[in-house]
């Protein structure tokens, strides 16, 4: 069962048919182990090397600087833990952007909890764009790693990576960027942007799930995350996900060719979404920066209603979207990204993320715009809140829960 309209391209993307077809060859025809000496293996090794060169080329790197991984998350873990453990002699301080994906935040928290790291989380203003001065100010003589994502997965905001990396370089601090949402969607050149470590993930640009890559600048030492048979020149052991690597490289090649088209096409559709929503629905706000933003990303907050319900109603109408509400995130808390740009929990619960992709059409946008007002209205009809009860709705201090009458019960905090 699939949705008729897919507006959640930041969550994942379909594999392009030509990519899938090429991958299939590496299951059926070229299935050798690249570590094997004979033809069946060596011919595959050559293809993996070619894929590595393609990926390197796509971001202005050298093939030796590319390490394939089992996901964007693994690439992030490898970068954060690897850099921290390798540089621990110099210091134990990490500067982490507050809006990072859990794939970056959780490794940081792990290092704080278990391996003596001190982590400073720096936050942006309400547009989500980080002021590079905030990084400069957070630096101590113990700082060994700065990690700032290139583009945010929830609000699409693009960070001033070049400015931040310059600060890192001036202080001789390793700079990592999670570019999982950026690579394949906007132009990325590791030299121009001054990046030491960069993570990407194939399924965000029409490649397969379960394969990513980490760019590791020449000369950078990184502590290994996965030890074993010394594949990836000892940096990431395990028999190579050959088909996945081929798929990643091919998808990236195609995605990069389409960047200009996508920029034009997606921004145009996205602007149509934004205008349509803001013009036709009351009590809604547009979240994030209007300019420094991924072309296909639109993010809103609707008052008085809750995001999971919104997503489910749109789903029933055949439209796939997502929300940063607590319920839809399953983490029992609303998106830390939305809270991190100063939104209240209530506003965050009412969020809706729409992310367009290369095959999105104007017709789809129009259908979405036709469906959405009715859904919002229906949910608002059902809501105990409205403009008249604004105060009760916005009041974050008062606890409306019966838990007040039963002070030994604190389930309300989790509800």
């Amino acid at each position: 069962m699939k949705n008729k309209i897919y507006f959640d391209h930041s969550a994942t993307t379909p594999v392009l048919p030509e990519v899938a077809e090429e991958m299939n060859r590496y299951y059926i025809d070229e299935w050798g182990n690249p570590s094997s000496l004979y033809q069946t293996g060596q011919s595959v090794k050559i293809k993996v090397d070619e894929a590595r060169a393609k990926v390197a080329d796509a971001i202005g790197a050298d093939p030796k600087e590319i390490v394939f991984s089992g996901s964007g998350t693994e690439a992030d873990n490898y970068a954060i833990k690897g850099a921290y453990r390798a540089k621990l002699k110099k210091g134990n301080h990490i500067i982490c952007f507050g809006l990072e994906h859990p794939a970056v935040i959780e490794p940081c928290k792990y290092l704080e909890k278990k391996e003596g790291a001190e982590v400073t989380y720096v936050y942006p203003d309400k547009t989500g764009v980080l002021d590079s001065d905030a990084i400069e100010e957070a630096i101590t003589d113990k700082t060994i790693l700065i990690t700032v994502m290139m583009a945010n997965n929830v609000i699409g905001t693009i960070q001033p990576i070049k400015e931040i990396s310059k600060i890192a370089r001036d202080h001789k601090i390793t700079f990592h960027t999670d570019a999982v949402q950026a690579v394949g969607n906007i132009k990325v050149d590791v030299d121009e942007l001054g990046i030491d470590l960069l993570s990407m993930s194939a399924h965000k640009f029409h490649g397969p799930k379960g394969v990513g890559a980490l760019y590791v600048r020449k000369g950078m030492s990184l502590n290994t995350l996965i030890h074993g048979g010394s594949q990836e020149r000892g940096r990431r052991s395990g028999t190579e996900n050959v088909a996945g690597i081929i798929g990643l490289s091919r998808a990236l090649e195609i995605a990069n060719k389409e960047i200009d088209f996508k920029k034009e096409h997606l921004s145009r559709l996205r602007d149509r979404v934004v205008k349509g929503v803001l013009d036709n629905i009351p009590d809604v706000s547009y979240i994030g920066d209007t300019k420094k933003r991924l072309p296909g990303n639109a993010c809103f907050s609707f008052k008085y209603i809750e995001g999971e319900s919104l997503v489910l109603h749109l789903d029933m109408a055949g439209i796939a979207t997502s929300s940063g509400s607590a319920c839809s995130s399953k983490s029992l808390e609303p998106s830390h990204v939305l809270l991190g740009i100063g939104m209240s929990a209530v506003e965050a619960h009412g969020s809706l993320r729409v992310t367009l992709g290369r095959s999105s059409t104007e017709e789809e946008v129009d259908e979405f715009l036709e469906v959405l007002p009715g859904v919002v209205d229906r949910l608002r009809q059902m809501s105990p809140f409205n403009a008249e009860k604004e105060e009760e709705y916005l009041d974050e201090t008062e606890d409306h829960n019966i838990a007040h009458e039963h002070p030994d019960q604190h389930f309300s905090a989790e509800s």
Binding site: I305, C327, A345, H349, P384, H400, I402, S415
Partner: protein, 143 residues
Amino acid sequence: MYSEKVMDHFSNPRNVGEIEDADGVGQVGNPVCGDVMKLTIKVEKDQILEAKFKTFGCGAAVATSSIITEIVKGKSIDEALEISNAAIAEALDGLPPQKMHCSNLAADALHLAVDDYLVKNGMEPRANKPSHEEEDHEEEQID
């Protein structure tokens, strides 16, 4: 994620609204936490004739609100006080683990509404503390 029954109640919620001259009103949850239910009941001779709800919340919150308005209809005050959140979840053919004690407040709202009715009619409140089973959360997330 949700059972068919949950989706049925979510997509066609029964008894949405507020009873104007309600005999009992119960509101639980907190918008900060993402779930608020307001239940209004009509009571006659200690029997619940009608219940209506308004809910701000996720699929589970809406479905539990909806089904309790059906379940409670015709029940006595005593019977209503016996209904637990767990029973509501069961009536919906189960809820995902992470929804068990977050979005399943309908019985609590009902008990509050009943207490409200009792107090308004000069009786002692009788609802027990809400009982929430501890379930392990299946943590997941969006990306």
